[in-house]
């Protein structure tokens, strides 16, 4: 799944190479499965928010996510945060991705902030959950 999300313009081999580099980077100092499982556990959002138009007004409505969507969102956030990190530094993309994963496993980083922001927004708008589509 992660390879497919990394893939751009159908270049799966390039995406696979990036993934292998990430694995090498993480495995050099840490236990790979532990880091990835911790990172995903700390990043998966349980809720999402959507705009629903009811009687002329637009409400932000929280709703639950299935497991598949949760994982997809978490992985997308890791990739987005790594891209932002790469813009500011001269590191390789795979190194940025590995750093993001390590930070996520420690409950820090931009991806984690996104998740907290989403949960906070859902919490603030919990009164509108009856407008679910």
């Amino acid at each position: 799944k992660f390879t497919n999300l990394l893939m751009i313009d159908g270049k799966k081999i390039k995406a696979s190479k990036i993934l292998f580099n990430i694995i090498k980077e993480i495995q050099s100092n840490f236990t790979l499965l532990r880091v990835i499982s911790k990172a995903l556990e700390n990043l998966v959002p349980n809720l999402e928010v959507r705009k629903v138009r009811v009687a002329g007004s637009t409400y932000i409505v929280p709703a639950v996510l299935s497991k598949k969507k949760q994982e997809t969102l978490a992985l997308k956030w890791i990739i987005e945060s790594a891209k932002k990190r790469q813009k500011n530094s001269k590191l390789e993309f795979s190194v940025c991705l590995a750093d993001e994963m390590l930070e996520a496993s420690r409950k820090s980083g931009q991806a984690r902030q996104k998740r907290d922001e989403l949960h906070r927004l859902a919490q603030m708008n919990r009164a509108y959950s009856r407008y679910r589509w």
């Binding site: 349980n46 996510l65 497991k67 409950k107």
Partner: protein, 82 residues
């Protein structure tokens, strides 16, 4: 609202859009309550998270039931023509 059938034109209406599904509301409220008590949801709200995820996954697997009103309208119009 609906098209009244002339000879040969079947009866058909645009079905009403269903106003949301109320599945998993209990689990959702339990999760919100837990989230309000503590910021760290990974450690403190494990059971609520798991229940919510399981409920959402089961609901997604079940899928939406299709509205069969147009099927019945066409069936009735065929009966009327006979």
């Amino acid at each position: 609202m609906g098209k009244h059938g002339k000879s040969g034109t079947p009866l058909k209406i645009n079905p009403r859009r269903s106003r949301g599904n109320s599945e998993c509301m209990e689990e959702l409220n339990a999760f919100f309550t837990c989230m309000a008590k503590s910021i760290d949801v990974e450690d403190k709200c494990v059971a609520e998270r798991r229940a919510l995820t399981n409920c959402a996954t089961a609901a997604a697997r079940k899928g939406k039931t299709a509205n069969t009103i147009n099927y019945h309208l066409q069936r009735i119009s065929r009966m009327l023509r006979r």
